[in-house]
Symmetry: C2
């Protein structure tokens, strides 16, 4: 069984190639991007600017097929794909939260910071980040814990024209 | 443009009717549920049990069409749908984090607590909650701020057989 989900827009981002993109937004907190929302969906952007973080639900459109177990970028054995944020998932759905820096409803432009999406990534949904339900600072790090001590080096965003 | 997304399983939950379900998991922190994952996807559940929270990406399958502006359950004027977590979204995709209490990989059963999904809700993806990228306890509450002072009354889950 499958469901059909409309693409509501796309990301404009400094990350052009998979090998350049950070594995998570925390690896490039200053990378600026724009979420360009299609005309028919723009009225739904009202009130979004009142939040300072937003969830982006997107499609890993350059992911080629899913794997039950994936090799984590930080090393160690393969892990179940649902215990990772890897692109190789059955749904190809990705989830990331970014800082909101501006919304132009008429133009359908949402300016964000800390973007880890590849340029031209299809966007499926935007939702406000609501700390009362989304922030769990005491959640365990699971199998990741021993790997977090050795954080990956920060990557510098390259502008699409740079 | 649309994309096709496979359903990987479904939620078994005490919430049978829309009018009974909490609007967010924080309104029913003790509601227990099971995420039943289809056989072909079960191997992907490996290592998930090491985390204590999990993101559930699901389909609001009982949502009837999307609206650019929606009336929030807490009151006040209509808000842009992307500034809410309402079901009436173009994608019909929902996002909720739940506490993980057990995983049976062979049976494809993920036991969770704090579930706000309706019984039989289709599941599209599971991801580990990773506090380093997901927890932003200082994020603003946006337009919701004045409404959060008056939290909704807690609802008690009813067992499907009760």
């Amino acid at each position: 069984m499958t469901v059909e989900v409309p693409v509501i827009g796309r990301a404009l981002s400094p990350w052009r190639r998979r090998e350049d993109a950070p594995h998570q937004p925390s690896a490039a907190p200053d990378a600026e991007g724009v979420l360009e929302i299609d005309a028919e969906y723009r009225a739904g952007l009202a009130d979004l600017a009142s939040f300072d973080r937003v969830w982006v639900i997107f499609l890993f459109d350059r992911s080629e097929g899913w794997k039950a177990k994936v090799k984590p970028p930080r090393g160690g054995p393969k892990r179940g794909v649902f215990a990772t944020r890897a692109p190789h998932r059955p749904s190809r759905i990705g989830l990331t939260s970014v800082a909101l820096t501006g919304v132009d409803i008429d133009a359908g432009l949402v300016n964000v910071k800390g973007i880890d999406l590849l340029d031209e990534t299809p966007i499926l949904d935007l939702k406000p980040y609501i700390r009362g339900v989304d922030a769990w600072p005491d959640a365990s790090d699971g199998w990741l814990a021993p790997y977090l001590a050795t954080a990956p080096a920060l990557k510098k965003p390259r502008r699409p024209d740079g």
